[in-house]
Amino acid sequence: MPSKLLVLENISKRYGGVQALDSVDLDINAGEIHCLAGENGSGKSTMVKIISGVVAPDPGSRIFVDGERQHSYRAIDAVHRGIEVIFQDLSLFPNLTVAENIAMSSTVAGGSPIVAWKEVREIAKRTLDRIRVDLEPNAPVETLSLAEQQLVAIARALATDARFLIMDEPTAALTRNEVDDLFSVVEELKTKGLTVLFISHKLDEVLQISDRVTVLRDGRKVGTYDVKEVSADRLTALMTGRTLVAKQKSEEQTYGPAVLEVDNLSREHEFHEVTLTVHGGEIVGLTGLRGSGRSRLALSLFGLNPPTAGSVKMNGKEVRLRSVQDALRAGIGYVPENRMVEGLVANQSVRRNIVITIIRRLLNRIGLLDARKTDEITTTLVRKLDVRLPSVDAAIQTLSGGNQQKVVLAKWIATEPSLLILNGPTVGIDVAAKNSIYELAQSLADNGMGILFISEEVAEVAHNCDRVLVMHKGRVVDELVPPDISEAKIKASINAIR
């Protein structure tokens, strides 16, 4: 029997009319990596807040740390017990150096009002050595990459002699390689006896890093499982409460005429002699490692990154794509990788975000926005895409990631494009929302739209696409058609060239 570092029994939390958590039990073994998985709204964040003492659970809940019942359990008690949370926003000071960030807790808690800079540097060095990370202690944190900042946040937590680290969605904004680096640090910590609770909804990561996983759904505990006993599919089913049915791909399927024909398209240092075709009604997958040129190609097709050689035809006619306006005129829509920066105006309403692409069409005779037409289009699209929101006047930033992504889709669907480029359409959104994005892409294709589906997640490419192109170092190196489209075969193709 491993010893229990933390035991939570019968945890409930009610916020007004919402039961965020309903009699949840959770136990954490000392020295394990435990994952708390669940979709948005499943109660993960509330759970983290209770464990870190930021929020008190409702009466009837019991918390034990090292077997001792905790009667009052506040944030400071958690810290004294060596329980540290790394929040999703990292809570770092961008203007201060790596060293000062790492030693900040001891600066705050230190007895003397004078800062001992020598000690600050020593703490930083010692902690960075401990996780075997090589960062310049004098660099301001704002000059680091997000992955490096994550490591600084971990180092800061460790500098306080934490023995139990809670990481809230640490991988949300990291690339695959950065995730691997992060995980090797976490593994390293585990060998040194640290306990980690890892919050995530990315299944492959859950399976890769954890020893046990506890699944929450709608505020209730579904169960705790040994990771060796569950598969990704099973976890998905547990998290969503339903199973995803893979698309039936047939070899016999017929498509409309070619929508997009790319012939020998090149851009120096980015991609070379790319030739591809997308037909109406067809979902063409484009995958490959990061840096393979997928996104650069997508940007070129959307007029943001003019190619240096080759030609592009839309619906049979040659087009020059020198600006976004050119792409719009040619009937191309583009859902970007980073929706908050490239796709949406975060503080504006859903309505305004949706109509931004078609604002010209909505002007009346005297050049003002036609309110009725705007309403009509917005409500139709919101209903069609099943965007969950309090009102079309809600600001984008108040929506969940999945709903935000649907708004991005809506604004391009409003332009009625004949080709829609989806670049990483499900980055950072949960399983159920992913699924509805997939369904949406399929129904658009069924209505005759051509779709270029760009993603580095092989599973979703296999799941959704009628044909798959693999890129490597700026070239299309492989093409897979049914019945060869499967996760394993695509992976094999990517690895073959590596």
Binding site: N95, M340, G428
Partner: protein, 347 residues
């Protein structure tokens, strides 16, 4: 080999600092001004310059602390004016000595500064709004009571203190002796104290921390109330001291000689590299910002440029400096905001 590497590193570090460029601008302007009129590059001119600008320099140091904390204070000119006026009134009616006068001005300043802090912290009013409002209230009350009358004929013990020199240099060729004014000495003392607070105390680092990320500062356990009380209380204290210095410098208290120059002081601090968004700024930069503005004003006069052009030229310098620093900083900032938004997008 290694020492060569180290020296390139030092150069790299210098080039990454805003202060280097301000210092460079000072050197270049000095060369130009001296070429036109050698009277500029004399110790006498500089000591005189620092006497005049010590008052502004002191205010700039206070503003620096506020800007680092992520706030802004517009009301300090009103605080200085009120402090000076109350001090002068008491001095003229009851007499006293130099320390009591300083104490009165400083206390008035602290009280008014703390009033700002209370509004900012407890009513959560943006600092710029709060301090624009209190600027008008403090100044308005003063004008309503005094009808804008000027107080003068200060006691001789007060005026004599203002004329004191910390050290004296005999004038050459029969010129009058000159030296470093007590006002400059006060500025230097405040510079040293604030430098120490900002660089070497927990309080000073806390000011940087809340300016960089207020929420994170709260989570890590800093007491935000007391830090804000310190920041605005300290700005008030500085305002009070500046009011005292202004009395020493002018020998009279006139309600509208400081009021209206808020933005000039803020401009000096921003010129020195402080960021209006908070978290950034150094004492060195602030001193250089004040010095640059001082030598520009002085140099333009020495070069006989019509004073009608002064504002324009100084405005251009500020625009160029701030644009340049924004341009250099853009890459880091873009990277940061992208990563921040990515994290938010996932929520």
């Amino acid at each position: 080999m290694q020492s060569g590497e180290r020296s390139t590193n030092v150069i790299k570090q210098l080039l990454s600092r805003h202060e280097t460029y301000v210092a460079l601008a000072i050197v270049i302007f000095s060369i130009v001004i001296t070429a036109i009129n050698p009277a500029y590059l004399t110790l006498r001119n500089f000591l005189g310059l620092f006497q005049t600008y010590a008052f502004w320099g002191v205010l700039a140091v206070g503003v620096l602390v506020v800007l680092i904390s992520g706030g802004i204070d517009i009301s300090f000119t009103a605080i200085a004016t009120v402090a000076e006026y109350v001090m002068a009134t008491i001095m003229l009616r009851f007499g006293g000595d130099i320390f009591t006068s300083l104490l009165i001005a400083a206390s008035i300043g602290i009280v008014l500064g703390l009033i700002n802090a209370v509004f900012i912290h407890y009513f959560k009013i943006p600092t710029i709004i709060t301090t624009i409002a209190t600027l008008n209230v403090y100044y308005g009350v003063l004008i309503a009571i005094t009808h804008g009358s000027i107080l003068h004929s200060f006691p001789s013990w007060f005026n004599n203190f203002g004329n004191m020199l910390v050290f004296t240099i005999p004038g050459s060729h029969g010129g009058s002796p000159y030296g470093m004014s007590v006002l400059t000495a006060i500025w230097i003392a405040i510079i040293v104290i604030v430098w120490f607070i900002l660089q070497h105390t927990r309080l000073g680092r806390a000011v940087y921390a809340i300016g960089g990320n207020a929420e994170a500062a709260r989570r890590v356990g800093f007491n935000i109330v007391s830090i804000q009380m310190f920041v605005y209380g300290f700005m008030g204290l500085i305002g009070g001291i500046a009011g005292f210095m202004h009395g020493l410098m002018i020998g009279a208290a006139e309600p509208n000689s400081i009021y209206g120059h808020e933005l000039d002081v803020i401009a000096m601090v921003v010129l020195g590299g402080a960021n209006l968004a908070g978290g950034k700024g150094t004492i060195t930069g602030t001193i250089l910002g004040v010095v640059l503005i001082a030598i520009m004003g002085n140099g333009l006069t020495i070069m006989r440029v019509s004073s009608y052009w002064h504002n324009l030229i100084i405005g251009v310098i500020i625009v160029v400096s701030v644009s340049f620093s924004a341009y250099r900083g853009r890459r880091a900032v873009v990277r940061r905001s992208v990563s921040k938004e990515r994290t938010e997008a996932v929520g």
